[in-house]
């Protein structure tokens, strides 16, 4: 496979052909914020947090392949401003109340807010009605905390192979659903493997019985599973 030479933040780096900008940047020690990306899962380019400036055009780093001679900026003032706006939009969208959340302290959204310097949200809080489904014996889903990253959908479909999760509705009415929009406990396709819990970046999917700050997701496990399968063929 041919190597590509490109510039990230002014520094020349080399990358593998077919690799994404995100992978190439990480290989060379440049971190780019992400939310819908999870190692081991396909990329969908949905959250837009990993947008980078490629020769004056904004591109998602996760779904843009490296090319020879690219000149990439990952952390301009404009990109930082956009990323903060995006995270603020998420906080305004649903009831993300860190103080009473199972994932507080282990939450990717909460961490993003810190790393992007979000000290308050400039937008109206939409305060939608969101349900909490604890019909499953072991797990629960609180839609208030869901950011629609679809990592659970992809983990269930691509890694566990059962596709219990999907999305219904559109716009801010979109919701993660199990099977044919049934209560999770009634979703027959669910194997209760818990991979969706591993994948979830926030407190939306949780182990029942966990209380504030107790839910840790260990999302790195997904990549380990995928890699192990690859190695064993």
């Amino acid at each position: 496979m041919a190597a590509k030479t490109l510039k990230i933040n002014g520094t020349m780096i080399s990358a593998r052909e077919g690799e994404s900008i995100l992978e190439a940047a990480r290989d060379s020690g440049v971190s780019i914020p992400t939310l819908c990306h999870l190692d081991g899962l396909s990329d969908v380019g949905a959250c837009r947090l990993c947008i980078v400036d490629v020769g004056g055009r904004l591109r998602p780093a996760c779904t843009t392949a490296v090319a020879e001679g690219m000149d990439i900026q990952t952390n301009t003032e404009q990109l930082r401003a956009y990323r903060r706006q995006i995270v603020e939009l998420l906080f305004a969208e649903r009831g993300h109340v860190c103080a009473v959340c199972v994932a507080s302290g282990h939450c990717e959204l909460q961490n993003l807010a810190v790393s992007l310097g979000m000290d308050h949200v400039r937008y109206d809080y939409l305060a939608p009605t969101c349900t909490v489904d604890i019909s499953h014996q072991r797990f629960g889903i609180d839609h208030n905390r869901c950011v629609l990253c679809t990592r659970c959908v992809r983990a269930c479909d691509e890694v566990e192979g059962v596709h219990t999760w999907d999305i219904s509705g559109r716009g801010t009415s979109a919701r993660i659903i199990s099977d044919l929009n049934q209560p999770w406990g009634d979703a027959e396709s669910c194997t209760s493997c818990g991979k969706c819990l591993l994948a979830c970046p926030t407190g939306a999917l949780f182990q029942r019985g966990s209380t504030v700050a107790e839910m840790e997701h260990a999302s790195g496990r997904i990549a380990v599973i995928v890699e192990s399968r690859r190695v064993r063929g």
Binding site: V97, C98, A99, A113, H120, Y125
Partner: protein, 184 residues
């Protein structure tokens, strides 16, 4: 005692649990240093009825949840040079705003006091005594301009101290890093 004039400090308690004030009190012995540099001119921990004029710094805990809060916050803003949103309720609405998805104030009270609560089913109403709830709880900056934000539920005492030290030294408080910013 230094000769520099003391700054007039006010702390305000709106729609919140008073946890932020508890965290303020958690500053322990540093409070003595603070007392040397400020005059506490208004606070739930001081028996002062009217928010005074000419306040240098107001720390506001809690969200705007009632007509009373709405009235006070405008006075606070008018009479204060710097206004700080102290804690998650003031900054985001937080727990105080958890009722927002239930609908407007009347519906919320109906659900809480009648449908799911008090067996007598009476919605408390004492005009002039019990403040009237707003239909939607909002953070402080949705109503008046806010100069600084100090997240946290509650903001840990060192975070409050870092902000106060910066302001007392005439510096802009840093708003970055988990130490200063983490919600929850």
């Amino acid at each position: 005692m230094s000769d520099t004039p003391k700054i007039k400090l006010a702390t305000v308690w709106l729609g919140g649990c008073s946890g932020c004030h508890m965290s303020l009190l958690d500053l322990d012995e540093w409070l003595i240093d603070l007392a040397a540099r400020v005059d506490l001119v208004y606070s739930p921990i001081a028996d002062i009825k009217v928010f005074p004029e000419g306040v240098d710094l107001a720390l506001v805990e809690g969200a705007i949840a009632s007509d009373e809060h709405m009235e006070i916050i405008h006075t606070v803003r008018r009479n204060s040079t710097l206004l700080v949103s102290l804690g998650d309720c003031a900054v985001t609405g937080n727990v105080t705003a958890l009722r927002n998805p239930l609908g407007e104030a009347g519906l919320t009270l109906q659900q809480i006091y009648v449908d799911h609560g008090d067996p007598r089913g009476i919605i408390p109403a004492e005009p002039g005594i019990v403040p009237v709830l707003l239909d939607k709880v909002v953070p402080v900056h949705a109503v008046v301009a806010v100069d600084y934000f100090l997240p946290g539920c509650p903001p840990p005492a060192p975070r409050i101290r870092a902000l106060l030290e910066a302001l007392l030294a005439g510096r802009i408080p840093t708003a970055e890093g988990a130490k200063m910013l983490r919600f929850g």
